[in-house]
Symmetry: C2
Subunit: 204 residues, 2 copies
Amino acid sequence: MRISELSRRTGVPVPTVKFYLREGLLPAGRATAATQAQYDEGHEQRLRLVRALVEVAGLSLAAVRRVVAAVDDPPRTTHELLGAAHEALPPAVADDVDVTAATGVVAELGWRIDPRSAPLRQLAAAIAALEAVGMPAGVEVLARYGRALEPVATAEVAAVPTSSREDAVAFVVVGTALYEPVVLALRRLAQQDASARRFGVDCP
Amino acid sequence: MRISELSRRTGVPVPTVKFYLREGLLPAGRATAATQAQYDEGHEQRLRLVRALVEVAGLSLAAVRRVVAAVDDPPRTTHELLGAAHEALPPAVADDVDVTAATGVVAELGWRIDPRSAPLRQLAAAIAALEAVGMPAGVEVLARYGRALEPVATAEVAAVPTSSREDAVAFVVVGTALYEPVVLALRRLAQQDASARRFGVDCP
């Protein structure tokens, strides 16, 4: 198909498609003339992935490039592919953060975690922030959050499609990013309900 | 006490204390001379609250002003005070967002929620974002997240101190803000563990 048809099928404007081609996020089409190229369904699928990562998950171009490289890197297992998708998501945490306390929490939970993974460093940074202001950050307190999240994470991973590598990666990155505001809003609403039960609500 | 002593006790530099005084976040001391004033333990407690809100929870000065106003507003119940603390936290969502779907989720959960509360609008905005890209956003899917978060929210609210209004508000705002990165990192780690169980991990 021509670039105009690729744009029509995906809803991505032609200038944006050309930008993704220049940035290397979308592989070049098969040249049919000096100023024309043909694109196939592989391009269409890749373009849908890039758009979801940029527009929906809000990733930077550098992060999209890492995700696309992971999809193109053939020897990875599905588990490694999902790990690479996670790595691309913010917040970035320095490699040299001390993960001792965070490792203790996942050990208490009995989880299989890559010791170099980004979410482990994110947990380590969050624990350090709690400790800096004297908020409870012990293994038992934090493991309680982890145990509460186990059933939702299991259901989320069970829903990951295996139809294609692009589909799996898009689902993980977009799903991880878009359900975060749901989780945070529901935590506050659950606190509001718990506060009504503990302190009572005055009727007007 | 003099401003220097107030600064020493709280660890807030004198120029910052003067800034908070100018901004009205800290009430003026009792003037003892043209350029001197005396401060008491009420000032010390308020200063600790303002510092926690600004430096730890990362609130804007406008948000701190709203929190401080809620603490000073006498007829509120503890539940209303905690609600006002929640209102001050980002993300801000427009008042006119359609909360129908979000209200359906909290009804399914049986929670007592103020229909004008900020977290309900935050949930509504999160649901709209999911629907815009065709991700599952039905009542059953979202209620599953809510049920998972109930026990942690109950434990969090049980830990709210009742020693003073400042203590309660600081705990709610700082705790809500600082445990959010913990919740998000642990969700990703739980996904990583669930992915290892579903897809298997290659040993090197």
